[in-house]
């Protein structure tokens, strides 16, 4: 019984992390119909931006002085930086290719991911090795029903919920959010109604990258490790989750993230030899969904105009 509950907590945690990545990924799909395969690598980029800044802040004594307030401020700074990076990626890479077939853009994001990955490895000192990531989460925990609930896991789950609620707020209650929803439904009409498409897309990239940065930082601070090539794995998990839940719908991304997390954790635990095949289970689920229910669990409406 113990193990089951413990696994449940782990699954919740893994799912939260996957959901956050998936939500960012699905944003690109929903609004501009783009599968951004550099998303995972952007997550890692966020962590590598954070480390030197955090080190500097610690050395300058800001962290201890401000009794922990500095940490959220730093995180927000990193999110801004990643956001700016997202806008830059848009300007340099995406804009020229928006008119080209989507496959080309997809390939371009893949190449961009590789550039980010190898760029980090080459530029960051001792970048080829895994790096220790500062532990920003509160330690310790409490016992409930004979299992340990760590404060760090709870914080992550909490922060993920906060991020998603923020995103929800942005999408449904702000002008930019309305613009995004309009563009995702029909870009031409949106433009006719006076929405600045370019600004909307830039916003998508900025928010998507910031989300990636957040997901990366949460991931790294929980496991305590980051490495330049962790992004590819994260990216694929994120896209799998988004697909399972229903592309383009961020509620779907959350559902997908949870399903993926649970499949992984429980398949690894209960199926003999399951651990080494756990990715196979996830991908088979992806394939099954794409074939039998391509609209995902929550379903995006796909109408075929004849």
């Amino acid at each position: 019984m113990n193990t089951l509950l413990q696994l449940l907590i782990s699954a919740l945690l893994v799912s939260s992390l996957y959901s956050l990545v998936a939500v960012g990924f699905t944003m690109y799909v929903g609004v501009i119909n783009l599968a951004n395969f550099s998303h995972g690598d952007t997550c890692v980029l966020g962590t590598f931006l954070m480390m030197p800044i955090f080190l500097y802040a610690t050395k300058a004594g800001w962290i201890s002085a401000s009794a922990g307030l500095m940490i959220p401020i730093l995180i927000i700074l990193i999110l801004l930086l990643t956001g700016i990076w997202g806008a830059a990626v848009y300007k340099i890479l995406v804009k020229p290719l928006l008119a080209a077939p989507r496959l080309i853009l997809l390939l371009a994001t893949v190449a961009a991911g590789q550039v980010i990955r190898e760029g980090i490895r080459v530029i960051y000192p001792n970048g080829s090795n895994p790096q220790v990531f500062p532990k920003l989460l509160p330690s310790g925990g409490f016992h409930l029903l004979d299992i340990t609930l760590g404060y760090d896991s709870l914080t992550i789950i909490f922060l993920t919920i906060v991020c998603i609620l923020c995103l929800n707020f942005i999408i449904h209650k702000t002008k930019m959010g309305v613009a995004m929803r309009a563009v995702s439904q029909n870009a031409d009409v949106a433009q006719m109604m006076g929405i600045n498409i370019e600004r909307t897309i830039i916003a998508v990239f900025m928010i998507g990258s910031a989300l990636a940065g957040m997901a990366g930082i949460l991931n790294a601070t929980y496991y305590g490790i980051t490495k330049f090539n962790l992004g590819s794995n994260l990216g694929i998990k994120g896209f799998s989750a988004a697909v399972i839940g229903g592309l383009g719908d961020f509620k779907g991304a959350i559902v997908g993230g949870f399903l993926l997390g649970f499949i992984e954790v429980f398949a690894a635990a209960y199926i003999p030899n399951g651990s080494q095949y756990q990715d196979v289970f996830s991908f088979l689920a992806v394939i099954a969904f794409l074939i039998f229910r391509p609209s995902g669990i929550l379903g995006e409406k796909i109408f075929e105009k004849v």
Binding site: N129, A269, S275, Q276
Partner: protein, 389 residues
Amino acid sequence: MSKKLVLILLAVLLTLSVVGCGSSKTAEKQTVKIGFIGPLSGGNAAVGIGAKNSFQLKVDEVLAAGDYPYNVEVVYEDDASDPATGVAAATKIASDPDVVAAATHWNSPVGLATVDVFHKYGMAQVLWGTIHRDIIYGNDYDEPVRVIPTSEQSMELAGDYAVDFGIMKWVIINDTSDYGTKIRDEFTAAMEKRGGEILESIGVTIGQQDFSAVLSRVVELDPEGIFYAGVTTEAAGVRIQSMKMGLTDVLFMGPPGIQSDTFGEITLDDAEGTFCSGTFDVNSTEEGIAFVEAYNAKYTDPYEQNGPYAYDSAAIILEALKEVGPDKAKIVEYILSHSFKGVIGDIEWDEYGQNGVGGLTMYVNQDQKWVKYEESEYASGERTLPWVK
């Protein structure tokens, strides 16, 4: 009309100039080239770059002494841990008439792929990495020799220590790469030979970060020892999470793959009391300490586990070159028929070209650094081993 004539004339001129350029190919005869292939990009770049720097360190030292009869130039090629890239690199180096010998590879699949290439061209291949026994024992070639011990040898050492410590019930967590599966198989063989028991082997993938499901299973199995068959990044994750799950009084051991200082840097306090059945301990000899000093004076990237072996590979090649001259076949013969003394100690080949001794060491992690067990505070009793109550 004349415009087209000009175009054609230009084309002809261009072709001629290019062909003409070709005849002045850069070929220097007084300089001798030696090759180095390793993973210089991609996931294992840390080890490759450490080895590359160590190799260059030795070359520079020998040339700086002033009395070396040749001007040596090293040709570095990247195999990116990929067999296809490795074969291209090996073909390039082995078929280059100016290159006389090469030191190669960290990944066994790459080594397995290129051993035929070097044999075809009759070029000595000194392996500073790779663990798969078939690279040396799977063929009858004279060209490949391996400085570093096989996984079999390091796992035998692990088995001996396990028996000494009385830890006989193990769970192996291995990654699904060639390295992880080989180590798993060798450790299983070593333990079973000694009457130990492998309760279960659980596979994880490279890049996996969450091991909670795996570790829950381990908790259920309640082993005396956990062996992580793989490399630093995932081992660190497994260690940290296993400690969180309460697996604090087991013998946690790994292969040379976790011998990096990065392991301690990442696991911090959780590294305390972990073991590594590893390779040569640079701090155990004078030459080793000198190597560390010289290396750190010149490079900021760590030399990682294979640095000393790459360093000695350079020494072997340079000695052979000095003795018999830039003749590939003679160098192959010289290397195979001589023993050498390197930073790692005496290097003696068995009849197939595998170094028998190789400086295998059992390490324990003390204050986030790997220390030779016999010299540690654990051996002397000042610190208690994790499983001792």
